[in-house]
Amino acid sequence: MSTVPVEPPLRVRGLRKAFGGLRVTDDVSFDLAAGIVTTLVGPNGAGKTTLFNQITGELAPDGGSIALHGQALLGLAPWQVARRGVARSFQDLRLFGQMTAHDNLLTAMEPATGLWQPGGAARQERRERVAQLLEATGLAAQAQARAVDLSYAQRKFLSLARVMASRARLWLLDEPASGLDRGSYERFVALVRGAVRGGVTVCLIEHNLDIVADLSDRVLFLDRGRLLAEGTPQAVMGDPALAAIYFGERAA
């Protein structure tokens, strides 16, 4: 362990966002630390995905700051945030439906804009990496199938593989494990743990408390735009007051 204090990969301070009178993010501050899995939990409408949207530049906050390795992200377009090493998945997946599984991953590795882009050795390397990713996510046999024709679990894995393909060091995963059977879930956990060991910072949104307890090192509890608590899964989910909010038994 290094004794030099390391800047947390992502630092969010005093983030605020309102839609009309509705505060969807209310003075939220937190850090995402490297090498651990942080999970955002909270009832529907707590503002979890809205938080992701603000970090990735899809939604402009009303105030506050977001810094990635000390550099401000606010004001950047989503593609600029992505090129700085932030990858995300979507709850509704948003795969490139008419493209093959192979091309879904290949295009995630080719963010450049120009009409002519360098090929050669880099091209071969990318194709090898696509093959590796398809193998790792159990999609090797579906490489040439269109994304829209894949089964639900296969599409979930393609969505994760697309994040992996980006080589981003910060992953924001929106309900990546929902609807997976036991075997698929274990494959998913192994992939996330492998990435975290490799130094990737992972933040996910999850509703299933077993998954929260199983996979996360740290939990942030959001409700109605406010960050109510943070800590270990046991501490946060063991708090009766938070559990009451989570299960909808809101105290008066």
Partner: protein, 293 residues
């Protein structure tokens, strides 16, 4: 008869260039433009003006027409960056209407409603390409080059980016793609290649006026792409061939009174579209159902 076939070949070739370039943005970038005839017109008027005042060499008319069309295409790219789907269709309709007004009112350049006459034949290496058979070869060569250019682009990283943003703009952005720049480039490529058709047309017919570049033409081009198969390589070629040959087919039907042929054509186009959308929604070349995710 041979002269008739050569003439038909040239016109099919010119329309195929337009359909292929429209398919490039419609089928692969999801930009449904009903203003494609504008770039056909910009190419044709530029060729006419340059050929009459500067040089009829294709090495002069082609690059200038392509450049100007690419510049004008910004007018289409700007709304395409803001709105999608039916909103963009409405925006492109606006551009089409403005362009027709400019074409018919900017008399010093376009000759107004009367158009530009006496356009000299195209020159290649100092020799005029005047014989219809030679012009057919030139047209097919241009069509081949346009197909090669668009196909190469679509198979490249750029083409994958285009298809990615067509399928999900927000996911393409999340993958680091500068969607605005990619769309602008795609529209510019499509417009400048469509101008090639305009240059050929102006030299071939030796006369251009606004009639050829109206909304009707844009709609016909869109019909070619849809009937042939949006987002397929062969679709626009099949569509152009079919919709260009259909009128001639009717003119061979001697039992039809000549004055009614155009009405029968319209009915045939309409019926074809309706039947296709029911039985082959992906077009003649495309698959049966292209479900959008």
């Amino acid at each position: 008869m041979l002269a008739y076939l050569i003439n038909l070949g040239v016109l099919v070739g010119i329309n195929a260039v337009l359909a292929v370039t429209l398919n490039f943005v419609m089928g692969y970038a999801g930009i449904y433009s009903i203003a494609h005839a504008v770039f056909f017109g910009v190419g044709a008027y530029t060729a006419a003006f340059v050929a009459l005042h500067l040089s009829a060499s294709l090495f002069v008319t082609l690059p200038l027409a392509m450049l100007l069309a690419a510049a004008v295409s910004v007018a289409l790219a700007l709304p395409a960056l803001r709105v999608r789907g039916e909103y963009f269709v409405a925006a492109s309709l606006g551009l089409q209407v403005i362009a027709v007004t400019v074409f018919s009112e900017w008399k010093s350049v376009t000759g107004g409603i009367g158009g530009v006459t006496g356009i000299p034949p195209a020159e290649l290496f100092g020799r005029a390409v005047a014989a219809p058979a030679h012009f057919l070869v030139l047209t097919l060569a241009c069509l081949g080059a346009v197909i090669a250019a668009t196909t190469l682009l679509l198979r490249s990283a750029f083409g994958r980016s285009l298809q990615a943003l067509r399928d999900s703009e927000s996911a393409a952005q999340a993958a680091g793609k500068n969607v605005a720049a990619i769309k602008t480039l795609a529209v510019a490529v499509s417009a400048s290649l469509a101008a090639v058709a305009g240059v050929l047309y102006a030299h071939y017919i030796a006369f251009v006026n606004v009639e050829s570049f109206t909304l009707d033409t844009s709609v016909l081009l869109m019909a070619m792409v849809i009937i042939g198969g949006t987002g397929t390589l062969l679709g626009p070629l099949v569509g152009a061939l079919l919709l260009m040959l259909l009128p001639s087919l009717f003119s061979f039907m001697s039992f039809l009174p000549p004055t009614e042929i155009s009405a029968v054509q319209q009915i045939a186009y309409g019926a074809t579209m309706v039947l296709l959308m029911i039985f082959r929604p992906g077009g003649l070349v495309g698959g049966n159902a292209r479900a959008r995710s």
